[in-house]
């Protein structure tokens, strides 16, 4: 997989039933960067994440990886290869936890190498004892960890996580934060959408806000471990 250091999204627009949800979004994401995305319900956060990860086609827009800006249609394969979108409630495929992880491993990996990587992932999420259990019977927090392990196994450089700590107890939140910290240190760009940005204040480098079909820088992490809000926030700024 050729490394891409930064992904730039240029003039991304999307409408649902002729109602604009996202209008001329410009965004640049670089590896090692941890961003927190906030916004009201229905403001278009999930739509934006699905577009950024190549799952949803925008009405217009270009994407720039290593080369010149390319239309979304041609950039889609690149996005699906290098990015990963994680649902708020991650989908668990039928079968065991091990099978869920094996789906995420590369196609070319041979048997023993693949098994070793899956074992490492199970160790990392501390679910080795449940590897043969059905993934459907896991708790929400455990499923979230399996999903993060899948992201790690895929080796994506850019992760878009939709409310990864929603409906979790404090212990599970702490464990998830540790995993995210590991991923950040390994050089992944992580963007998280949440209604509770304070949880990620220690990890986050910047906070973005989706509002009025646009995106703007809403704040930055202060050394005190809290977000400091921009005031006044620049409208529709290139981040």
């Amino acid at each position: 997989m050729n490394p891409i250091d930064c992904l730039s999204y240029i003039n991304i627009s999307k409408s649902w039933n002729r109602k604009p949800v996202l209008a001329d979004i410009n965004l640049k994401i670089c590896r090692g960067q941890f961003s927190v995305l906030c916004g009201e319900n229905g403001s278009g956060k999930t739509t934006l994440f699905k577009i950024l990860s190549g799952l949803l086609r925008p009405d217009s827009g270009h994407v720039q990886g290593t080369k010149q800006p390319t239309p979304w249609k041609r950039a889609r394969a690149m996005l699906l290869k290098h990015t990963l979108y994680m649902h708020q409630t991650p989908y668990m495929f039928s079968g065991s936890v091990y099978r869920n992880l094996s789906i995420a491993t590369g196609n070319s990996a041979d048997g023993s190498c693949r098994k070793q990587r899956i074992d490492e992932a199970l160790d990392w999420i501390q679910l080795k004892r449940l590897s043969e259990e059905s993934a459907h019977v896991l708790s929400g927090g455990q499923q979230q960890r399996v999903a993060l392990a899948r992201a790690w196994l895929k080796g994506s450089s850019f992760l878009f996580l939709d409310e990864p700590t929603a409906n979790m107890d404090s212990q599970s939140v702490e464990r998830t934060l540790n995993l995210l910290d590991n991923l950040k240190l390994s050089g992944c760009a992580i963007m998280i959408c949440t209604h509770n940005p304070g949880i990620f204040a220690d990890l986050a480098d910047q906070m973005l806000m989706v509002a009025d079909s646009g995106i703007r820088a809403a704040g930055f992490a202060a050394p005190s471990g809290e977000f400091r809000l921009n005031n006044p926030a620049p409208e529709n700024a290139v981040v």
Partner: protein
Amino acid sequence: MNHRLLDTHEMFRQTMAQHAQDIVMFQPSFPNRPTTRHMLRKYHEDEFLPQETAGIPNPGDIDNDGIFLFSRLLIRTLESLATAISDAFHLLFSGDPELWEIVGISFRVSCTAILVSTPVALLMAFVLAYHQFPGRRALISLFNTLLAFPAVVVGLVVYLLLSSHGPMGNWKLLFTQTAMIMAQSLLCLPILISMGHAAFQAADQRAWETARTLGKPVAWALMIVIREVRFGLLAALFAAFGRIIAEVGASMMVGGNILHHTRNIPTAIALETSKGNFAQGIALGIVLIILAFALNATLQYFQGRGRLTR
């Protein structure tokens, strides 16, 4: 081609001979139209009824002759049915080569038809469930309507396509197993698409999105989603197979019911019944019922397992 013509001729001759015999058998022996009382008296006088009924009072003494006649006929019917079933089991377990050849042809044709149409149908069902395009709803309605399409009409369409003056007449496929496979494929396509579409639509959209975002190519992601909805698809597959294995109209029209070539279970049952050879018809019917039970039991088994592992 000659053997087919000869066979068809033989079939026609046998059927006509049987009909002629039936007509003679049911000629009334009374100068006037026979009444119930006349018929009962005749049965009694000719000792047509079995000996064990001798203890039953004279039919003339019974007030309601109709009920008496009905009970006699019912006994006779049950007796003949029991004999036919007993003969049918004898045929089945004695390994009658003709019977098992018919079963083999039926399975070969229907399994090939399912194998041909399933990939196409699954792809169409998936596209209808996961992609938005103009005319999608109209297509779904069309396939749902085709569920009720009569088999004989499908047979007629394929017949017209394959007849010597039809667009595919040069292929000379009429009255072959290939023609039957074509007709049966067309018959099971709407079932597979409609039920497959319902199964895909009931599936969680996140399954497809997760497979794609994990970097799987479209074909691989499709296989993953198919595995997720396998129980619904299996039900569609069995329903489609059930329809075509028991279908008589289209197979008769495009296959011609030629012994050793295109005679399958339903067409053979139709023929044997018209000839009065109920034993073979029932034996073939038993094969179909056992098959239906086996398919349903398999589906139940897998669905049960699926639920337990969730």
